[in-house]
């Protein structure tokens, strides 16, 4: 665990740096994939950047709206450059909406665009795992095993390491499959199914799960839902969907 790197007078948050590095590498991967699928790399990069910027602005806006009473007396604080006052759910909603509007405006084909995003997303999730390892977040359940890690004062499942390994495996499968002559939409749905399956499996080793009805873990239930949707989606798309044309 290394949440902060101290360089001289600066304290750099390593988890955030890893997320930024992951985003950058995902965008590089996207450039290559766009070229192979006759999509404009610039347009896809703009799609991500617009989604990201609107997402961040939306996350702040959502936070401010939820705390309007506080911000009414401190209007300038709305623009403060700090990552503490963000509402992630709202950010995701705003970011996706902006990306959708931009994609429609640019007449981007839905499934080939999503397929082009899949390998980059796979790589990004590896860095999310590394970021969790650096911050100590997404920690494992207490257990004493030869491979346990001591995190937050207790021996625990190294859930972050499991997460990185699973993400690497998903990325490897997507990377190996991306050149195969499959129907449009296969790659993104395979990515969703594999990621959901790994979440269902690995959540069992987490020590910070949100618990719902009868001790069930909410992320596992969400993972099962995504898994089911992905399987149904693959079947429906496979019926009448043309194959993807790839440039080697």
């Amino acid at each position: 665990m290394l949440p902060v790197i101290n360089i001289g007078p600066f304290a750099l948050p390593l988890p955030a740096l890893l997320i930024i590095l992951g985003l950058w590498l995902a965008m590089l991967t996207l450039d290559k994939e766009a070229g192979r699928r006759d999509l404009s790399a610039n347009t896809l990069n703009n799609l991500l950047v617009i989604g990201l910027i609107v997402g961040i602005a939306g996350a702040r806006l959502g936070y401010v709206l939820r705390h309007l009473e506080v911000y009414r007396d401190a209007l300038l604080d709305i623009l403060a450059l700090n990552a503490h006052a963000l509402s992630l759910g709202d950010g995701l909603l705003f970011g996706l909406l902006a990306a959708l509007i931009y994609a429609q405006h640019k007449e981007l084909p839905l499934w080939p665009t999503l397929d082009a995003l899949a390998p980059g997303l796979g790589l990004f999730f590896v860095f999310v795992g590394l970021s969790h390892l650096a911050s100590g977040d997404a920690y494992g359940a207490p257990i004493s095993l030869p491979w346990s890690l001591e995190i937050w004062g207790t021996e625990r499942h190294p859930s972050q390491v499991y997460e990185i390994m699973a993400a690497l495996l998903v990325f490897w499968v997507i990377h190996r499959t991306k050149s195969a002559p499959m129907f449009q939409g296969f790659l993104i749905l395979a990515f969703a199914a594999l990621s959901a399956a790994s979440r269902v499996f690995l959540e069992a080793f987490r020590g910070d799960s949100e618990i719902v009805l009868g001790g069930l873990r909410s992320m596992q239930l969400g993972g099962l839902f995504v898994l089911l949707l992905s399987f149904i989606g693959m079947h429906l798309l496979a019926q009448n969907n043309p194959g993807t044309k790839l440039n080697r």
């Binding site: 948050p13 709305i78 937050w152 207790t154 069992a204 596992q220 099962l224 079947h235």
Partner: protein, 191 residues
């Protein structure tokens, strides 16, 4: 790959595969339910969101003492600071303002001075100059820096009425709206 496509297209085969995978997922989800309340992070003391805030007993600059666990039932903001740290100094008036506004609703601001790398006299002089009225505790031997795994100054922990850490903000200076919004959420959640 053609075999795979045929498999996905074939309704019966794909339904069977889906049913097997989802059934396995449901079985695994049911088997990994959490039934043991002692597994909860809220029972373990650690300086991390969702964990019990590590307890401490420290001297204060006004010759008193303070024990964190004795403040159970109130919202506590623990701010680790030093008088030589510019962002720490910059955010102190903000904590004072928030303390004045929310003190009656049960908020306690507890500024823990890193005295082992500062000095009690400097802390006292700084507090007097700014007219700080909340308790300022002295970490003379670095025990809090160690138990709260302090990596950068300032670091602020927002602790709910059950003693559970709800937010950890590393760095500063924090703006007033951020502190107020978090404190208000905690007060609302506790009532």
């Amino acid at each position: 790959m053609q075999r795979m496509i045929s498999l996905i297209r074939d309704r019966k085969s794909w339904m069977a595969i889906t049913a097997v995978v989802i059934s396995l997922g449901i079985a695994w989800t049911a088997a990994s339910r959490i039934l043991d309340a002692e597994m909860s992070s809220e029972k373990i003391a650690s300086p991390q969101v969702g964990f019990l805030a590590p307890d401490f007993h420290l001297d204060t600059i006004d010759a008193g003492t303070v024990t964190l666990s004795a403040l159970r039932g109130r919202i506590v903001v623990v701010n680790l600071w030093a008088s030589w740290c510019p962002p720490c100094r910059a955010e102190m008036p903000t904590f004072q303002a928030v303390y004045e506004d929310f003190g009656e609703q049960g908020l306690v601001v507890l500024a823990v001075n890193m005295t082992y790398q500062d000095s009690a006299a400097e802390a006292l002089s700084f507090a007097a100059k700014l007219g700080l009225t909340f308790p300022i505790a002295l970490d003379r031997n670095g025990e809090i820096a160690e138990s709260y795994r302090m990596r950068a100054l300032p670091t602020t922990f927002f602790i709910d009425e059950r003693g559970i850490i709800r937010r950890v903000l590393v760095g500063g200076p924090l703006n007033e709206a951020t502190i107020r919004s978090i404190v208000k959420d905690l007060i609302e959640d506790s009532s």
